[in-house]
Amino acid sequence: MIKPTLQPETAKPSDLELLQAIANRDEYALGSLYDRYRLILFGLLMRILSNREEAEDVLQEVFLQVWRRAKDFDELRGRPFTWLVTLTRSRGIDRLRLLGARQRLAVAASADEAEEVSDAVKDTFLSEQRRIVTRALAELSEDQRRTLMLAYFDGLTQSEIAGQLDIPLGTVKTRMRLGIIKLRELLHEQLENFG
């Protein structure tokens, strides 16, 4: 069986090269990075905020922060993709909390449907990664998966998850720990290939 190629084969600049160019004030490089990851990052923000206007506002803030902080990126600590996703999720959760519970209910009531992206996107290597992660998540129990999703996409702490699901805090901690450890085992080999 041929292992899927998870890196594009053309001579496009790497994520790290783009970040280094951005640190040297290359606006074109920032545009390229935005084009490369806008679908994934905006999809993440839509999942968190369920509101297009808020999500677009936060997406803009994220890339402005990339422009300001590209020079601080440390490649020894992780990949540019991870840095972008972490930044995006952090901003998204911050905006979610700032909107407040009452406003969130009003926003969710008029939630925008996520439009299906064109088939062209499904051919990218990110689509392959997405299939791998989705398959790995399906290997977890429903309880473990739900705990991870509540923490990651709704920004809830373990205490808040325990309160929402009306289960002991210890149970939440166990489910989260077992779920994330299993996810790590399933993705470990793939992560080495992601480069």
Binding site: R25, E27, L30, G31, D35, R38, L39, I40, L41, F42, G43, M46, R52, E56, L59, Q60, L64, W67, R77, G78, F81, T82, V85, T86, T88, R89, D94, R97, L98, G100, R102, Q103, A114, E115, E116, V117, V121, L126, Q129, V133, T134, L137, L148, M149, A151, Y152, F153, T157, Q158, S159, E160, G163, K173, M176, R177, I180, L183, R184, L187, L191
Partner: protein, 275 residues
């Protein structure tokens, strides 16, 4: 928490699922423990993969356009500052070169006298120009410093508000503008201890000698909070402590009062949370 316990909480920390106190403990430990820092980085890589389970969605073209416009404005300002700095250095170099070239002409004494006079006049003019530029720069710096401090204060309050909202029992009140300020709005985040953060926007500037004051309504009686003045953008923030008698109340209001505040409301109501 011992070292093994830190290791088991790193995954939850990568999911930002720890309570504030636990998270701070883990972060403090990771600053001095290379093993835990590496482990934390690995967990970040794992959890970032969860983002891929969201369906990809296309943002509007305007989002990209607005972003690039902001970047271009920022870059233009940076280049303008660099160009001004280079011009200042050039003008200083020209004064020195003019003095040096004048020394080569005329008789020894006359040349020296003319050179000395020209040098003196040139120095006076340069000093005047530099002094004016310096004053303008100082004024601009003072203005930017004030603006920066106000923005920094606002960011601190926004961060504190988020911190309050993550605590158990935290509440959030929304205040709406009245007829005197229909476009004003505010949110008040507070926890069970009464620590409160107010974020307001759309307020008209307070007249000289006046400021906006926050009120906590308990049993129908208004209890005074602190005063604040919004910036030119109409946004203002406040860090306050709700009196014990009003912590369980959920009615708040903002009025315009003398800048030192009052014990009972005297001015018009600009924002209210209703009942």
């Amino acid at each position: 928490m011992d070292h093994d316990e830190f290791q088991t909480t790193l995954a939850a920390h990568a999911l930002t699922a720890l309570d504030a106190g636990e998270a701070r403990e883990v972060e403090s430990h990771a600053e001095s423990c290379i093993d835990c820092r590496k482990e934390a980085d690995t967990w970040q890589e794992i959890t970032a993969q969860l983002a891929l389970t969201s369906p990809p969605v296309e943002p509007s073209l305007q989002t990209r356009a607005r972003l690039m416009e902001s970047i271009r404005s920022t870059s233009a300002e940076e280049r303008s500052v660099d160009e001004k700095s280079r011009n200042e250095l050039r003008s200083k170099a020209n004064v020195v070169e003019l003095s040096a070239s004048q020394k080569k002409h005329g008789s020894f004494v006359q040349t020296w006298a003319i050179a000395a006079c020209l040098l003196f006049i040139g120095l006076i003019i340069s000093l005047l120009v530099l002094w004016q530029q310096n004053r303008a720069k100082r004024q601009e710096l003072a203005r930017l410093t004030t603006q920066f401090q106000a923005t920094e204060q606002q960011l601190i309050h926004e961060r504190d508000a988020i911190g309050i909202l993550t605590r158990p029992g935290a509440r959030l009140a929304q205040l709406s503008g009245t007829k005197v300020a229909p476009s004003a709005s505010a949110i008040l985040a507070y926890d069970q201890t009464g620590r409160a953060i107010l974020l307001a926007k759309g307020l008209p500037p307070a007249p000289a000698g006046k400021a906006y004051q926050l009120w906590f309504i308990a049993g129908g009686q208004p209890l005074p909070g602190r005063v604040f003045s919004p910036g030119n953008s109409g946004e203002g923030t406040l860090d306050d402590q709700i009196p014990a008698a009003a912590v369980k109340a959920s009615v708040f209001a903002i009025t315009l009062e003398p800048s030192s505040g009052t014990q009972a409301p005297t001015g018009a109501i600009y924002l209210t949370s209703g009942s």
